[in-house]
């Protein structure tokens, strides 16, 4: 079996971050979080039932009360984990999904806040996921707060961010400080590069470890069952992944 692809490392890291969850929901257009949740479900089979809902999917949808049910179930405390991205994310874990520059006449307008301003407050384990790791994404202060990373005492907030996963590394989030800490660096990247690409300060040890790559069992589940499952909702992403795998194998064979 070939070495893990970058996207496979991300998916496996997400599966690890989901350890112990009973229910997880994934927004539309989120193939990597969806694959991570599918891998978690496959790994836990026989021990713990992991329920997964993908917004907009017919197959992976355990809701029957329309699109409000995701939010209701979060409000009831039945949703353990969710993913948020962000056009901008800052060091306080504030998320901006609206746009850059002045509001409302944004220089660049993104789609909008979706459910972030609610789910960030109510889902205990929110995983921030943004593959692009650059200073334009990870800024000192977001231009618009779609959802704040932390809340003052007295504000009802059972949920919030626990981690930030990017194309370069994995951060944890400490709500009390508040701030991020670099937990590991993905293969092929280094601390200097991450510091240069991050517009906010973060904690780290002198030499953060490399992100744990998937073991053979995880990789096998991933390239078999998970890839098949993913195909229903994300056919283009699945096809692309299969092409990369074929390319990687071809390279190994020719090497």
């Amino acid at each position: 079996m070939s070495v893990a692809l970058p996207r496979e490392i991300l998916i496996c890291t997400i599966a690890r971050l989901l350890d112990g969850v009973r229910s997880v929901a994934v927004g539309a257009s989120s193939p990597i979080p969806a694959a991570g949740a599918m891998l978690r479900r496959a790994m836990d089979e026989g021990q713990r039932r992991v329920r997964l809902s993908i917004l907009g999917s017919v197959e992976h949808n355990f809701f029957t009360n329309g699109s409000v049910e995701l939010f209701d179930s979060a409000g009831q405390g039945r949703l353990d984990a969710f993913f948020l991205g962000g056009g901008q994310i800052d060091g306080q874990a504030n998320v901006n999904l609206v746009g850059t520059g002045e509001y409302p006449q944004s220089d660049v307008r993104w789609p909008g806040s979706f459910g972030s301003a609610y789910l960030y407050f109510t889902v205990p384990r929110v995983i921030l996921f943004r593959e692009e790791h650059s200073p334009r994404v990870f800024v000192d202060k977001v231009d618009f707060i779609s959802a704040p990373g932390v809340s003052p005492p007295g504000v009802y907030r059972p949920g919030g961010p626990v981690a930030l996963l990017t194309g370069k590394g994995l951060f944890s989030f400490d709500r009390t400080r508040p701030g991020f800490r670099l937990e590991s660096i993905h293969p092929g990247h280094d601390l200097d590069e991450i510091e240069a690409a991050t517009g906010f300060g973060f904690d780290h040890t002198g030499a953060p470890p490399t992100t744990i790559p998937p073991d053979a069992a995880a990789l096998s589940l991933l390239r078999g069952r998970v890839l098949d499952e993913l195909e229903e909702t994300y056919p283009a992403f699945a096809a692309d992944w299969r092409r990369d795998l074929a390319g990687a194998t071809a390279k190994e064979v020719s090497a």
């Binding site: 699109s67 609206v98 409302p104 307008r109 909008g112 301003a117 407050f121 109510t122 283009a236």
Partner: protein, 267 residues
């Protein structure tokens, strides 16, 4: 009670508040061109809870004064180009929301109450920018416990597409209950369907469970593949290549005009 698409479109009056569903719930794309031809403008659109192609086309056609939404995009095909340009140029009033706030506003209308409280939101710029939302204290708590009140959203008209309706005007919506929520909240509801069935959808408990009663349905028109290029759950998938074709064309005003002048629903 079935009419043609043009007759449905004529029910929309300038300045009205119109509720439209999320991409995957049953967008009546078949109504988009009739609405544009009818030309009732100055509309206040409410996206339940997000918008896409239909909203972008109505904005591009100059019919929209205000948009209340949690997001607008073309999904895999990227950002909504006419919306984005209108925002840059300040030509539409934005009411940026978050999905459950739109659901809460519709729920308030469904319940006949002026507001519904909602958790979250506090500390967001959404709340800071929405002077129609109110921050209050939870009167049931003996500790400080701020909470936001969302006022009722009462659309004049809701418009969506569904798989089928019966001769009595009952509409099958399956588990897409946001369509029911829109209809409960709206004064009038216009529905396009793939087909009309002869038997009553309420006669059988199995189909009744997923049926919006005719009580809430003002008028219905038949429009086969009426969600295209969006998909209709359980019936057909999204035509992503068409969305991409639109996204490219609509980058410019001219490209948008040309796209709108010729694209037709495929047979």
């Amino acid at each position: 009670m079935t009419a043609n698409l043009q007759a449905l479109a004529r029910r929309v009056k300038p300045g009205q508040c119109v509720a439209l569903p999320v991409d995957y719930a049953g967008v009546s794309m078949a109504m988009t061109r009739p609405l544009i031809e009818h030309g009732a403008g100055d509309l206040h659109l409410v996206c339940v809870p997000t918008g896409g192609l239909q909203v972008d086309q109505l904005i591009g056609s100059g019919l929209v004064r205000r948009v209340e939404t949690s997001a607008i995009s073309l999904g895999e095909a990227g950002g909504a180009p006419r919306f984005n340009q209108a925002v840059r140029e300040g030509r539409i009033e934005l009411r940026d929301a978050t999905c459950p706030a739109i659901h809460a506003g519709l729920l308030a209308a469904q319940k006949g109450v002026p507001f519904i409280p909602m958790r979250g939101l506090i500390g967001s710029d959404l709340l800071a920018r929405r002077d129609d939302w109110k921050l209050t204290e939870n009167p049931f708590s003996d500790q400080p416990d701020p909470i936001v009140l969302i006022p009722a959203i009462t659309p004049d008209i809701a418009i969506f597409h569904a798989p089928m309706a019966d001769m009595q005007g009952n509409v099958w919506i399956g588990r897409r209950r946001e369509l029911a929520a829109m209809a409960y909240a709206a004064t009038e509801t216009l529905v396009t369907v793939e087909r009309i069935v002869e038997h009553s959808l309420l006669a059988d408990e199995t189909t009744a469970a997923g049926t919006l009663p005719a009580l809430y349905v003002t008028d219905i028109a038949v429009a086969p593949r009426g969600a295209w290029p969006y998909g209709l759950w359980g019936k057909y998938g999204t035509d992503t290549s068409e969305l991409i074709r639109y996204a490219k064309a609509a980058r410019s005003e001219d490209g948008f005009a040309e796209y709108m002048s010729r694209a037709e629903v495929p047979a």
